[in-house]
Symmetry: C2
């Protein structure tokens, strides 16, 4: 049986509200996943979320973690980050910013938007809209 720690109740409510605001039905599993994601701003891949959510007790299946992360990204709650060819990262920080990726260690850092001057983007082709612009600065040890 599912047990929810009583002290977590308030944050849980806040998360449910957030999901509702993004037109996502707040199921138990989605709330669990969202709480893991928004505990702190972070970059995670599906596998890490799976482990984190099920750390204490098995709450959410693999398929649901994948489905939910995809749903959250589609609904604009989190952001996909493509930096590692082997896995997809998600960023729970939705404020505009860019990324610095350490290719040898896999570390992914945020870069404040003011640190990159981005101007004059090309127009999207006829009948298309810009969904987003990703800037990734790849760095490595000398």
């Amino acid at each position: 049986m599912r047990q929810v720690h009583p002290n977590a109740a308030l944050e849980r409510e806040a998360v449910i509200k957030m999901l509702r605001e993004h037109h996502i039905t707040p199921t138990q599993q989605r709330v669990d996943i969202a709480m893991a994601l928004f505990e702190r701003p972070q970059h995670v891949c599906a596998d890490q979320v799976l482990v984190q959510v099920n750390a204490v007790e098995s709450l959410v299946s693999k398929a649901t973690v994948y489905n939910t992360l995809g749903l959250f990204a589609k609904k604009g709650l989190i952001r996909e980050v493509l930096v590692d060819p082997a896995r997809l990262f998600y960023d729970s920080n939705m404020t505009p910013h860019h990324h610095m990726y350490h290719t040898d260690s896999g570390i992914l850092e945020d870069v404040a938007p003011g640190q990159v001057q981005l101007g004059a983007l090309p127009d999207a082709p006829e009948g298309m809209v810009v969904e987003g612009v990703d800037v990734v600065i790849r760095v490595r040890r000398v």
Copy 2:
């Protein structure tokens, strides 16, 4: 037995020279792959290269295609492009430019560097160098 079309001889020599300039031992397989890549500037994934190279006759194995594309990228002959979470693309156009990615169709286009104003990048952390900066404009149908 390996057959090389006589008219391709000249281009083959040029490719061999290019490999040597990048300190890559020009084996038959590497030359075949490079010729497929540089036939025209293009974005390809490993699987497409495998098919293209072996279209007429089976010349190169899967492992070699993967190894060779990785080698070429490491040696600066081609460039990895991360746009699709499911596969890694390679760009045989090494002149500086950015990318526009059609998320629904998978089409990947070049964007001339002049069309994006990129200024004032943050410094790389101590003991690190910037390997590259990727700018991807993701677009989709309205």
